[in-house]
Amino acid sequence: MKTTVPEPSGPRRPRLALMGEFSAGKSTLANLLAGTDRLPVQVTATELPPVWLSATASGVTCVRLDGREVALEDDRLANVDLARTAYVRVGLGSGLLDRADLIDMPGISDPNMPPEVWQRLLPEADAILWCTHATQAWRQSEAAVWDMVPEAIRRRSLLVVTRIDKILRPEDRARLLRRLAAETDGAFAAPAIPVALTRAIAGRGDPAIWSESGADRLMAAIGSVLSSIGQGVVGSDEAGAPARLATGSPVAAGPASSAVAAAQAVVPRRIKLGGAGAGPAGSRATARLDPAQSADFRAAIGEREG
């Protein structure tokens, strides 16, 4: 299965791959973790090969399947030839990248994206952050791919439930998480972690929003994953795989204190809002509505705007 892929040079850091269905929020999460907006984010599937963010690299380099490397002038990451590219390497040291490399994978289940594109890079990852849409969480297509991931990787990976802001009622969130706990029992290092990624990005620097969005718990868990990788994996063989992380209720439980420390260490220092969908929704619409109707209409749907 392993088609070898040219590896980046330099000291090896833990590698976290972001995987999941397309549009699940992988790139949004990568942007959040790396404190950047470099990764394109959009509502439809993004047609990019894996993007490997690493502090030990520099510039933007297209690594071809044949091993050749081509520096990209244009660092917008557009127009990369999917058929010939193994991955795109981006040198970046911000946020979590001072402790780990991030590999933002293309989504599964995109009919236009051959699975080989992410499959061939899979063996490079030490752990996976599997992103699943809260509103359609953990479907068979995800479970089937997860089954193919080696057990050792699965045991130190996390299930991140993105778009949790779209499940409004707390009791529904709890029931969703209970189902995920039952269905993915033993398949991840810890219980599923719900997070509202776009909230977290918008609320950077505000501890209340940071915590309310679920980003703090996510950071804590990632901290634990990194230390488990650090303990047993990097530079040693698979036999030294770490024990499973301590588990607890993702809703209520506070993370272990060492994890809290880790969490603080990985809060991004600076995060810019991504380009897509950044403008305040509604402004354009308002301009085009007939003012009288608009005011009434807005009142009717009970718009509460500051």
Binding site: Q136, R163, A182, G302
Partner: protein, 690 residues
């Protein structure tokens, strides 16, 4: 039995509140209902005009004016919002249970009807019988069979394990009744959410022991079908909407139930989720349905209220759907409608003033753009505006048009055709058209002899048709088997070439669509042959029957030949829609491939798998669908000849008939009037047929 009366069509302008919202966009259905009412009125007139036999036949026809009941299936990935959408479409938020976790577990047919005196709401739930259940448990259903064939023992185990757990759960819930319930049906004279919840939803926390007194999903695991009769005020005609369990659920059985239900409706609404529209799973589903009938797939992209910027994102999603369908041979001409079942529900529950802030923003953003396209709400009513933005009226509009031009049209023609036959038969007995001079009283014109002659005509006709049908089916079998053999040869070559070039480290995939196309065209060709045989048989039988009329009645001019019925279009080859191993490229196929690697005789193993899988598709066509089609055409011949027989026997039994006798009894003027009325009716029916 009292004579049925055509239902007056409700004027939508007279409705208010919710009822008014629900009918928005149903223009096509209203037009169809009006056409049916006109036809119905014609049949009433015909019943009054004719004798007892004609009246009975006209009354029977009146009952078929509403047939076939148009039916529509909602289908889509788990949690796309199918159930919520369905509830919104019929103006009954919360009626069918919806949830954040996988929920619908039974195909649920809602038979919708305008309120009619004497018709009440109700529900029937049918349980699996022992045999079906045993097959599920032992074989793991269709998926288990597939897994077994692929040599994926652990997948088979998993499916079996899921089913065993389901059975255990049901046993715990139902105790000793469990066995007793098998094969039973529960019927209720009312419907509400709490009742439905006991039968069709999964219930909380699958796997967990039920809480005492927990009614949710009490019978869900063993319920095979749910049929619910509902009244919808203002609805112009009767119709059926079907909710199905979501596909791509980890509980794999559910998907099989849904795929099996595709064949039950001509029209499918594929429900997608805007934030992740058109995944490989959605595409596979659409192609599966499209293989069946492209024209009748409608896409509803739900959850646009969850988009951060619908104005920018909806066109992106639309373009993406079109491109993906185009690149992968999907049905690019399918209508694509955007909307939100959530907004629709808010309209129905009177909560549009309490939308969550993100949702309200999306709505305001989307409003000016969408209102340019959507059917305009009748006034400045904000609820009607939000309703229009929810996409429900647009969905009803497309749906109504599909129904009206498809099943609706066919039903009208069928009835009009039979109506015309009745008018013509009336003419034969009463002298309209060819003037009847009188009944002949030759030997062999007594009722018993006429009946025997007609029976002979029927058996001759059936014999001729059976011979032709057997030929057509044999020709199909030959063509299909040739296509199948060629497909397997090509697939095997491709597999070997792949292994030589890449080894077994790269997954080999091979689409089965080429085979589907070939089988489909062979099937359609066979269908056309059968229709031709049917037409010839009916034509001949009609001539023979006219011969009986001529012997029975003395006529000036030729005896009228009854108009034979026309068959519905050949039913789509739904057997081709079943998923086979090759289609499961996204998930299972890959994992099987990797697991089977290194086995001895790897390529033989996969070739055998493909042969078995595609062979199944072919066998289903040959042993299931074609015989069904032959049977349905055969019963059309029977129906036609039997109806005509009844009229001829009645004619023979008339003590005193013929124009002269009639004229004496009713007066010449009355006879002329009746003739004129019959001609007007003939014109009405002919008009419908055009």
């Amino acid at each position: 039995m009292s004579a049925p009366h055509p239902r007056p069509v409700v004027d939508p302008a007279g409705l208010s509140g919710r009822d008014r919202l629900v009918v928005a966009g149903m223009d096509g259905l209203f037009a169809l209902a009006r056409a049916r009412a006109e036809l119905g009125a014609g049949l009433v007139a015909l019943a009054r005009l004719g004798d007892r036999v004609t009246r009975r036949a006209a009354e029977r026809l009146m009952q078929t004016v509403g047939e076939p009941e148009p039916s529509v299936t909602l289908i889509g990935q788990v949690k796309a919002g199918k159930t919520t959408l369905l509830n919104a479409m019929i103006g009954r938020p919360g009626l069918l249970p919806a949830d954040v976790n996988p929920w619908t577990s039974v195909v649920t047919s809602l038979h919708l009807c305008p309120p009619v005196p004497g018709r009440t709401e109700g529900a029937r739930f049918r349980f699996f019988d022992e045999e079906e259940w045993a097959r599920l448990v032992e074989g793991g259903g269709r998926l288990g069979e597939l897994a077994a064939r692929a040599g994926a023992g652990d997948d088979l185990e998993r499916v079996r394990d899921q089913i065993a757990r389901m059975r255990e759960r049901s046993r715990k819930r139902l105790g000793r009744r469990f066995e007793l319930l098998m094969g039973q049906e529960h019927e209720y004279g009312y419907v509400d959410a709490a009742l439905i919840e006991r039968y069709v939803c999964l219930g909380d926390d699958p796997g967990a022991a039920p809480r005492p007194g927990e009614e949710q999903g009490r019978f869900a695991d063993i319920t095979r079908t749910a049929m619910i009769d509902l009244t919808v005020p203002g609805l112009p005609l009767q119709l059926c909407l079907r909710d199905t369990p979501g596909v791509n659920d980890t509980f794999m059985m559910r998907e099989q139930i849904t795929i099996g239900a595709i064949r039950e409706s001509r029209i499918c609404i594929v429900v997608l989720s805007a934030p992740q529209a058109m995944t490989a799973m959605d595409l596979a589903l659409m192609r599966l349905i499209a293989n069946v009938r492209a024209r009748d797939v409608i896409v509803f992209v739900n959850r646009i209220d969850e988009l951060a910027d619908p104005v920018r994102e909806v066109p992106m999603i639309r373009a993406r759907i079109r491109d993906t369908l185009g690149q992968h041979d999907g049905p690019t001409d399918a209508a694509v409608i955007f909307g939100s079942a959530f907004w629709a529900s808010a309209c129905l529950t009177g909560t549009i003033d309490r939308l969550p802030p993100d949702s309200a923003h999306a709505l305001l953003d989307w409003a000016p753009v969408a209102l340019g396209e959507a059917p305009k709400p009748p006034d400045d009513d904000p609820v009607a505006t939000v309703w229009a933005l929810s996409g429900i009226p647009a969905l009803w509009q497309v749906l109504s048009d599909h129904i009206a031009v498809g099943q609706g049209r066919e039903g009208l023609s069928k009835t009009a055709r039979s109506g015309l036959n009745l008018v013509r038969a009336l003419g034969a007995s009463e002298g309209a058209g060819a003037r009847a001079i009188g009944l002949r009283r030759d030997p062999g014109t007594d009722p018993a002899s006429v009946s025997a002659r007609c029976a002979h005509i029927l058996s001759e006709a059936l014999g001729r048709f059976d011979t032709a049908a057997a030929q057509a089916c044999a020709a199909f079998a030959e063509r299909a088997e040739r296509a199948h053999r060629q497909f397997i040869d090509r697939a095997t070559h491709s597999l070997i070439a792949h292994l030589e070039a890449y080894g077994d480290g790269v997954v080999w995939t091979y689409g089965a669509d080429g085979l589907r196309v070939l089988l489909r065209s062979s099937y359609l060709r066979c269908g056309a042959d059968l229709h031709r045989a049917l037409a010839q048989t009916l034509e001949r039988a009609a001539q023979d029957l006219a011969g009986v009329t001529a012997d029975l009645v003395e006529l000036e001019g030729a005896a009228p030949v009854p108009l034979p019925p026309e068959p519905s279009p050949v039913p789509p080859p739904v057997s081709l829609g079943q998923s086979i191993a090759l289609d499961l490229q996204a998930g299972w196929w890959r994992s099987w491939w990797y697991r089977a690697r290194g086995y001895e005789a790897f390529s033989e193993r996969f070739s055998a798998l493909i042969a078995a899988e595609t062979g199944r598709m072919l066998a289903d066509l040959r042993e299931g669908q074609l015989p069904d089609l032959v049977q349905s055409l055969r019963s059309m011949i029977e129906g036609f000849v039997v109806d005509q027989t009844e009229m001829l026997v009645a004619l023979a039994a008339r003590p005193d008939a013929g124009a002269a006798a009639l004229d004496r009894a009713t007066g010449l003027a009355a006879a002329a009037e009746r003739r004129a009325a019959a001609e007007r009716l003939a014109a009405l029916f002919e008009g419908t047929l055009r």
